[in-house]
């Protein structure tokens, strides 16, 4: 999904680092949690605690403790779907029908009883046009979803409560990744009564069935959560979660060094080297590659010089990707395709995209721009993003393209993106679910409002995507070949400038990690789509 800012972790996509407590977690529900607080800090306010339009980095990390979905991911390296609010499920009719048996006796943090119909209500919220959820397309595979979204039906025909605690979901065609969609933060189940009561103000009163409940949220200042007394699962060891909102990335780093923050990710590029050189910190620093993440610039194929495929190809040849990797202290890999490593279907054999300014200039001349042209690049004001933009701008200046940089706050940028106002901008993508369809379908088909920022609509590409999407999970090998062909078209038509695949870097406090020399009773595991699983943590 589109990460609103360059934060490569977790929520909805990206990497999360979680600590497994061996002895204590096996025992489950051991001694009551002491007054321990797990603290994180973000540069900007948490955008939302509502599952609708959730999924951003900060939103997911803050939402995950509050909610459950039907299913979730096990804390293992390979993403593996495990029960959450659904205790078991059956897949029938060749992958078109899912029958979920739901957990009994679950309560929301305000005491309300959880009902199967609540799942239907929450999915409908994703489809209602007025809610403008970026994730709407993920649920359109459900039978009747499109009709409901278009206002032609009052309910979604594919969602049915079939018993006191069973729910049936019918799809229009098999989707191998459907369970992964149900594990996304946009599929969290919120209390419908609370949503109906508060409407647009719901997120300040967010209520879910998760291990924690919302205590308070002072926007741009602090967000606090504490253990949910009604939680159905093992009681978390950490009593309280605090998010400090507003400090700059450098300040957050300082806070971690002082022990005021327990985990931070990503580590700002310019601080990676001092961290690695600092004996006290280097043991707390972890970096992982191949996490299904990509930073790219999109070019609106309907405006000005970007209408020409030659111009778009020239832009790709002009950028020095190795330099961008160098600016991040080597914590990235140059990009050569739109599907990042970490996704099944990534093609390791593809050649790198060349850095060839001379050829770029020749292409521009061929396209009718011998003297180049002027364009505005819009970015959010994350210092790393701005720094890399300046490097790319210098590259483009060398081929005659004069770029004006327009940087704005994260929320202003998000808003401008969703309104389709940005014609040349940056996107930081993180994995939603481990399937090529995730990025290719949502970001290269549709409209800027639904994620196709370049407005690129290629008939052949779309038909290949549709054929692939309709194939059952058992035909994955063949299906990936179709995605390969589709991607070849995209790369040739170049609506994007893929820049690099960032590593996920994280600093996590030793109080939460195994101390050296002790027999490891804590383990690290990495999951591309989970935020830090705070309910599994304990603090020394």
């Amino acid at each position: 999904m589109i990460r609103r800012s360059w934060r490569s972790l977790a929520p909805g996509a990206g990497l999360g680092v979680a600590l497994l407590l061996l002895a204590q977690s096996l025992g489950g529900g051991a001694a009551a949690s002491s007054g321990t607080t797990f603290t994180m800090a973000y540069q900007s306010d948490v955008p939302t605690l509502s599952p609708v339009n959730g999924g951003g980095y900060e939103s997911s990390q803050a939402s995950a403790p509050l909610y459950d979905g039907l299913v979730t991911y096990a804390p293992t390296l390979q993403p593996k779907i495990v029960p959450d609010l659904a205790t078991s499920w059956k897949v029938e009719d060749g992958g078109r029908v899912y029958v979920f048996t739901l957990r009994k006796g679950v309560r929301y943090s305000n005491g309300d009883a959880f009902q199967p119909a609540d799942v239907i209500y929450n999915i409908e919220q994703q489809l209602i046009p007025g809610n403008a959820s970026w994730a709407e397309s993920f649920y359109e595979g459900i039978a009747g979803a499109s009709a409901f979204a278009a206002g032609k039906a009052k309910t979604v025909s594919g969602l049915k409560v079939t018993g006191p605690n069973t729910l049936q979901i019918t799809l229009t065609q098999p989707e191998g990744y459907f369970l992964s969609i149900l594990a996304m933060p946009t599929s969290y189940i919120a209390d419908p009564k609370v949503e109906q009561k508060w409407g647009k103000a719901y997120q300040d009163h967010a209520v879910g069935t998760g291990p924690y409940e919302l205590v308070s949220w002072t926007h741009n200042s602090q967000l606090v959560e504490k253990v949910n007394p009604y939680y159905w699962g093992p009681k978390p060891k950490i009593a309280e979660i605090k998010f400090i909102l507003g400090p700059s990335p450098t300040t957050i780093y300082d806070m971690f060094v002082k022990g005021e923050v327990d985990a931070l990710s990503p580590v700002p590029s310019n601080l990676v080297v001092p961290t690695q050189n600092n004996r006290a910190l280097s043991g707390e620093f972890h970096t992982v590659a191949d996490t299904g993440s990509l930073e790219y610039y999109f070019m609106d194929v309907h405006t000005g010089p970007f209408k020409s495929v030659l111009v778009r190809q020239a832009m790709n040849l002009a950028v020095n990707r190795m330099r961008l990797v160098q600016l991040q202290a080597g914590q990235a890999t140059p990009a050569n395709q739109y599907l990042p490593p970490g996704y099944p279907g990534y093609q390791p054999g593809l050649p790198p995209i060349a850095y060839n300014p001379a050829k770029a200039r020749a292409l521009l001349k061929q396209a009718g721009y011998p003297h180049g042209f002027s364009v505005t690049l819009s970015v959010n004001n994350d210092p790393g993003v701005v720094q890399r933009a300046q490097s790319v701008i210098a590259n483009l200046a060398a081929i005659g393209v004069k770029v004006t940089l327009d940087s704005m706050s994260l929320s202003a940028y998000d808003t401008a993106l969703s309104e389709g106002k940005i014609h040349f901008g940056v996107i930081d993508w993180g994995m939603d679910y481990p399937d090529p369809q995730d990025i290719m379908q949502s970001s290269l088909t549709g409209t800027p409002g639904t994620g196709d920022m370049a407005g690129w609509n290629n008939a052949k590409f779309i038909s290949l995507m549709n054929r692939a999407d309709a194939m059952a999970p058992t035909q994955d090998a063949l299906r990936y070949k179709l995605y390969d062909q589709a991607q070849a078209i995209a790369l040739a038509q170049a609506p994007w400038i893929p820049l690099f695949y960032p590593n996920t870097t994280i600093l996590i406090s030793n109080a939460l990690s195994p101390s050296p020399g002790k027999r490891a009773n804590l383990g690290y595991y990495l999951n591309p789509v989970l935020p830090i699983s705070i309910q599994d943590l304990s603090m020394r």
Partner: protein, 305 residues
């Protein structure tokens, strides 16, 4: 040490600039102040950097050198014998060249905005002083209101309205917001001067307001305006660097000392020189103008008093 009259409304003295005697004496007095020449040297250095930037900067300030960073992305530290005397910044650009070119922005904005401040301030102050009590009061109360308004808030508001910033918008914004202090000072002096015998007699013999303003009041106000002007250049340089630091000054792609300070802050742990050198440059420029103002005040007060 008092650099200007204790309050803008305090009397300046009894003599006009034309009575300082020959320029030579004033110059010698200026030299004798000690701080004067020091300040003037700093100002001259900054001006030279600004004017001669293309000639004296070792490199293009925008060039991001391939070999301007270590392999792990860390910028080069200052090296007297190396290719980058003051080191490089986090994009591999030469810090020394950027400091030299940054003087342009500081001087353009500092002097440009001050010119507008002084122009508006003198005009308005003289106008107020030579008007009837009602108009004078209105102007002065309006000035008080403008002075009370929080500066940076006002600037951010204006910038939001104007949209994209450039050197010219910064000059305009600072120019339009900085006149209140000068108005008060000019009007205060003008009020005293207009009561002087020869001015009063000119008024009595029917001199027009314009003649009064230009022939009699203005020449007497100018010395103090000069001192204030020098101080204002200093504060406008600081204001511009503050705006660039906040990201609403000159575009990020143009080298400016304030912008360099902002960049330096982010990189302080790995490359403190990115912050230190523009900071020193700002200090030298501003202290220079302040010292010149101090020396001028000494010279003019003494020759006048």
């Amino acid at each position: 040490m008092q650099v200007a009259p204790a309050s803008p409304d305090a009397p300046l003295g009894t003599a006009a600039a034309s009575e300082t005697g020959r320029g030579g004496r004033a110059w010698r007095r200026f030299l004798a102040t000690g701080v004067g020449p020091a300040g003037a040297a700093a100002v001259l250095l900054t001006l030279l950097m600004a004017v001669l930037a293309p000639q004296i900067a070792p490199y293009n300030p925008l060039t991001q050198f391939q070999n301007g960073l270590h392999l792990n992305g860390v910028p080069f530290a200052p090296q007297w014998h190396g290719p980058f005397i003051l080191g490089t910044d986090d994009l591999g650009r030469d810090v020394l060249s950027r400091i030299i070119w940054g003087a342009r922005v500081s001087m353009e904005v500092g002097i440009g905005a001050t010119a507008i401040n002084v122009g508006l301030g003198v005009l308005l102050g003289l106008f107020a002083a030579t008007s009837g009590p009602v108009v004078e009061n209105a102007v002065m109360r309006f000035t008080d209101m403008m002075m009370a308004f929080p500066f940076y808030l006002f600037v951010l508001l204006l910038v939001a309205v104007v949209g994209h910033t450039s050197t010219w918008t910064v000059i305009l914004v600072l120019g339009v917001l900085g006149w209140p202090a000068i108005v008060r000072m000019v009007r205060g002096q003008a009020v005293v001067i207009r009561e002087l015998d020869y001015v009063a007699s000119a008024r009595a013999s029917g001199a027009t307001r314009a003649r009064l303003m230009l022939r009699h009041v203005l020449p007497n106000v100018l010395p103090t305006v000069l001192v204030y002007g020098s101080l204002t250049v200093s504060s406008n340089i600081m204001a511009e660097s503050g705006l660039s630091f906040l990201g609403v000054g000159v575009p990020v792609t143009q080298p400016s000392w304030g912008g360099m300070v902002a960049e330096g802050l982010v990189n302080f742990q790995t490359a403190p020189w990115i912050l230190i050198f523009p900071g020193i440059a700002l200090a030298i420029a501003c202290i220079g103008f302040n010292l010149v103002a101090e020396a001028l005040a000494d010279v003019l007060n003494r020759s006048v008093g």
